[in-house]
Subunit: 347 residues, 2 copies
């Protein structure tokens, strides 16, 4: 089913009141079976790309680079500044602050589980986390560096030269911009957050509370699953924001800016709902801070369903069961610069 057909399907089921299945009435076992039609648990181990195997040296290097502020021209920002692993892999701001207090144009999405999305960025303009990682470093409203600056800095630090050699054995040169992004991507692939919902999908009926199960059934029956499905409960497709009506706060044209195709007007990658409790504010522009309100808006503009406070609350109760266990991250110890390392631009 292509995207346009899916839209028609969403519209049809919503208008007719037809629901994918009647999850509310069933037993726990039936709810698990129903949920498994739409969702799958996180993989037990990170999944790497064939051209970017995740060896230990590369993952450690990627973690160091992820936390290294020297990837920004000012030495103020690291990947972790906007995709903060102490928070929900985000900065909990509508728009991130970057170089010279400039602001980004879209809400920073979470890095947790992002490697399992179909593509990266709100508009999917990067194929994977490896491609994504090189972007913000160069963006003048984010880290404001250049490939040349970053490579000069990293090559001036002997420990980094060694680590790139270990992470990319046999490659000459190993310390390239692409390999920097690949190491960050490999690290990001380890950032999975299994939750009780995964245990439930694997058959443990007691992994969710009764209220969470009720919310899950309502989430399915309300058709939220049409878009928010798969291993990341979203992140698996593109969708027009405002199928039934365009939200007042929506001005961003989404994928249209990438493809210039009218069909892509206001189309975004469907956000993952894993850790949604932690990744406020919501939507492409961080316009909404209250998850209950966000659920009601989505039901209304995407499905033509006006949810009451009680039903929205039930769905939110389920959504909070998607808050996962973050991996334990030990802060890396970053190697010192040398006298020849390019200094921060703090003007």
């Amino acid at each position: 089913m292509n995207r346009f057909a899916a839209l028609v399907f969403v519209s049809a089921i919503s208008l007719t009141g037809f629901l994918p299945n009647d999850a509310i009435a069933g037993s726990d076992a039936e709810l698990i079976e129903s949920a498994k039609e739409y969702f799958s648990p996180l993989p037990d181990a990170p999944e790497y790309k064939q051209d970017n195997p995740g060896n230990a040296a590369k993952i450690e290097l990627g973690k160091m680079l992820y936390f290294d502020t020297r990837l920004s021209s000012s030495n103020v920002f690291s990947c972790n500044s906007c995709h903060n692993l102490a928070l929900g892999g985000v900065d909990n701001s509508s728009f991130s602050i970057g170089h010279k207090w400039r602001k980004g144009g879209r809400n920073a999405p979470t890095v947790f589980n992002a490697s399992l999305h179909i593509a990266q960025f709100w508009d999917g303009r990067a194929a994977d986390v490896e491609e994504q990682a090189g972007g913000p470093v160069l963006n003048p409203v984010e880290m404001n560096a250049s490939e040349d600056l970053v490579l000069k800095r990293l090559r001036s630090i002997p420990q980094y030269v060694d680590m790139f050699n270990k992470a990319y054995p046999g490659e000459k040169p190993s310390l390239t911009y692409k390999n920097m992004a690949k190491a960050i991507g490999a690290f990001e692939r380890t950032l999975l957050t299994p939750s009780r919902f995964d245990d439930f999908l694997k058959g443990n009926q007691n992994a969710l509370t009764s209220a969470e199960k009720e919310g899950l059934a309502l989430f399915i029956d309300t058709s939220c699953v049409i878009c928010h499905n798969g291993v990341t409960v979203g992140g698996q497709a593109y969708q027009k924001f405002g199928v039934f009506k365009k939200p007042d706060f929506l001005t961003d044209k989404g994928r249209f800016d990438v493809t210039k195709d009218e069909d892509d007007m206001y189309v975004f990658k469907v956000p993952s709902l894993r850790n949604i409790e932690l990744t406020y504010p919501y939507f492409n522009n961080g316009a909404v801070w209250d998850l209950n309100e966000a659920v009601k808006i989505m039901a209304s503009v995407q499905l033509g369903v006006e949810l009451g406070d009680q039903d929205a609350g039930k769905i939110v109760t389920f959504l909070k069961s998607l808050t996962g266990e973050k991996p334990v991250i030990t802060l890396p110890s970053l190697p010192p610069a040398t006298v020849s390392t390019a200094r921060p631009d703090t003007n």
Copy 2:
């Protein structure tokens, strides 16, 4: 010996060529004995203040607060932004970038081992790390928050309310600005970085290389130890910057701005040399990036000694043995805000 007497003493020994002892000529055992006259090893465990005992709940809370960007009005900066534990407890910039890209007026000093200094800040205007921790939160060129804003934010987050109750049992209210700073201070007291130099002071003659021992002997014999002594190899006294001549780059009046006492003109707390390899750029204004150059400047302006490149290099070789083992820090998982939490000011 008061500060003024110390200055006269420094001048006298430097002008006459009298040296505290003849460390270069001795055996390893003699060098250890000589070093023990000036230095002491780091304590084996953190030392807490009587009015701020370091219970586990408080230290964990302090770590969370240290990494929590919500202590800044913009949600951009945490303590760790300028005192980065992945680096040398600093940001390796001459002046830190703060709210709205404003700049601080002095180089951010390292937090590692800082609890063992006689006082905090370059001018010693805070008595201890507990008092210091509350300062940058309120500074308009740093985190730009107010006590009221921070307390409202923390009190709106149930997990923080619980953690303050656990960290300060019996205190009502437990969640106060002072207790916030005390928790951060308690965490900072754990940030000790024992090095091979400590092993040497404890009697292990092989803990330093021959070149490092030679550098240590020269460090003692050149009289650097007059100021850079004690458990933190500095940080134990105030001293005029520019005893023999005022450095060209010095405009900051130091403690004079605090005390308005002419004797305090250009007087600063002597910086600790522990981890000096990691805490570039050097001096109150971060004017010098090369440790060799910094050593030569200090010998010249403080001791009236013009060191050659070779001798400066020997001292630097010793100084690098002061780079310690950082404690393993696992990134905290910070609790989500609630709908009532004050949002970031990113204007």
